[in-house]
């Protein structure tokens, strides 16, 4: 019950143990729902395109990169795998990953005034924002899957694996986003460093080149990065046998847990230091 404690989302009646935790989750759900409704209203409010843009932006960017790659045909051609579809399927998750991490500091900063409502916690603000991004990317991915299915007559090989890959990608980005937001709230310089770091990580992400096409030594180095596993997983779900892939779900889960726990701890550590 202290102001310096974190366990502040308590009911007016003093419940203990499990019921209190459950009550906390219930309230958090309500708060996130309210935040989502508000986000929709502000997006719709400004202009009609506002909401559509959430889906158009990743779709357009991924489409543009895919067109470039297939037109100039750089990269590795794999029989039975369209370069265009490959680039689309690789770039979209990468784009989402990058967007979540580099936007997290701004999300926090521009929503600080929400914390005046003591029921809204720092985590809720970030969670609501990321839930929206997640919805957008799943929708866009579904559009791509359906599009490729209809026009190229190429159904996805394994939808559960594809979906698991996207969810793991989101969870990894969420954890890293929490760390990025907390670091930027603590040190101003962090936000400046995060943008270039995220950009420079592209070659290490294994996003745009299939690991199969790589020298085994390089491949094993890239596989130290959980992000590379995720991109392979998404491609496995999409292309299946046509493009052999390398990934370990356990390895990704381990890193998802690590960055999320660190992210939550960092957010908690930075909360009392925030100045309004």
């Amino acid at each position: 019950m202290s102001a310096t404690g974190w366990q502040f989302r308590r009911g007016d009646d003093s419940q203990n143990g499990m019921p209190r935790t459950l009550e906390g989750f219930r309230r958090q759900g309500k708060v996130i729902h309210a935040l989502l409704m508000r986000e929709m209203q502000t997006r719709f409010g400004r202009n009609q395109l506002g909401f559509l843009w959430l889906f158009l932006e990743p779709l357009l960017l991924a489409g543009a990169i895919a067109t470039l790659k297939s037109t100039f045909d750089f990269g590795h051609s794999i029989p039975g795998v369209s370069m265009f579809v490959f680039a689309l399927v690789s770039y979209l998750p990468y784009f989402t990953f990058r967007a979540i991490i580099s936007r997290a500091p701004g999300t926090l900063r521009s929503n600080m005034t929400l914390l005046y409502h003591s029921r809204i916690k720092l985590l809720d603000v970030v969670l609501a924002r990321h839930a929206l991004e997640m919805t957008a990317v799943v929708t866009v991915m579904a559009l791509i899957v359906v599009g490729v299915w209809i026009w190229a007559d190429q159904p996805p090989s394994d939808i559960p694996i594809l979906l698991t890959g996207i969810i793991l990608l989101f969870l990894l980005a969420h954890g890293l986003g929490l760390l990025a937001a907390a670091a930027s709230a603590r040190w101003e310089i962090a936000e400046r460093l995060i943008h270039p770091l995220v950009y420079l990580s592209l070659p290490l992400s294994g996003a745009l080149v299939p690991l199969m096409a790589m020298d085994p030594i390089v491949r094993n180095m890239l596989l130290l990065n959980p992000q590379a596993h995720i991109h392979e997983m998404v491609r496995e779900g999409f292309f299946g046998e046509a493009l052999p892939s390398f990934y370990s779900t356990g390895f990704v889960l381990f890193w998802v847990a690590v960055v999320n726990l660190l992210g939550l701890a960092a957010l908690r550590a930075v909360r009392p230091k925030l100045e309004f």
């Binding site: 102001a3 310096t4 409704m37 005034t113 914390l115 409502h117 003591s118 029921r119 925030l274």
Partner: protein
């Protein structure tokens, strides 16, 4: 009840070390209290409000809130500029789990905003904003109200209505108001304190507090 025990708060000022807002303050705010806190510009009144509201955390000491406390009511705080008054009311109702449309209705009745209820809050005048904020928080029925700007109570007519509500429906609720204007405190409060150079000094008598404040 809000309990402050040994609460200290400072900000780091570049090259000048610490600027103390509050040093080792201990206080109790009980239901039904009408406390006015006087302080000059920059004395840390708003920070004190944020500490009471749980928005900012103290560097030392503890603040316990044993009743529901409003957010610090000040211009534009707790509302979103690009949303309408009604949508803001819906948002606040959702996060505090109050019946949504009933709350919109109650805010509308109290704030008398008319068509402006459906206009973005960023188009509001200062007076309309204060009516919306007060309408919102009064409809929420908190145990304790934090009023950060005396202008938050609006013009003469609105001040009278606010006073009336505080004396009737909200008689058992606590009110903490900060201001640099003694007459605000005289209008709404029964006891007063002065926040000056990190010290929070309480007075039994309003007149004594105001005289001391004016002599600072």
């Amino acid at each position: 009840m809000i309990l402050l025990s040994g609460v200290s708060k400072f900000y780091e000022v570049r090259g000048k070390g610490k600027r103390w807002i509050l040093r080792d303050a201990t206080a109790v705010i009980r239901p039904g209290d009408r406390l006015g806190i006087l302080g000059r510009n920059g004395s840390g009144k708003s920070t004190l409000m944020r500490l009471l509201g749980g928005v900012e955390y103290p560097n030392q000491g503890r603040i316990e809130r044993r009743m529901s406390v409003s957010w610090p009511l000040a211009h534009g705080i707790g509302v979103h500029g690009s949303l309408t008054g009604a949508d803001n009311a819906r948002f606040v109702a959702r996060i505090y789990e109050r019946p949504v449309e009933e709350l919109v209705e109650a805010v509308n009745d109290f704030a008398e905003l008319g068509d402006y209820m459906n206009m973005p809050v960023s188009t509001y005048s200062a007076g309309m904003m204060s009516r919306l904020l007060l309408g919102l928080s009064l409809a929420m029925d908190f145990d304790c109200y934090l009023i950060d700007e005396a202008t938050s109570v609006g013009d003469q007519r609105f001040m009278e209505r606010t006073q009336h509500i505080l004396e009737t429906k909200l008689r058992s609720r606590a009110l903490v108001m900060v201001s640099h204007q003694p007459w605000h405190v005289r209008t709404f409060c029964q006891t007063a304190a002065i926040l000056h150079e990190g010290r929070l000094t309480f007075f039994e008598e309003l007149d004594e507090a105001i005289a001391t404040y004016e002599a600072l």
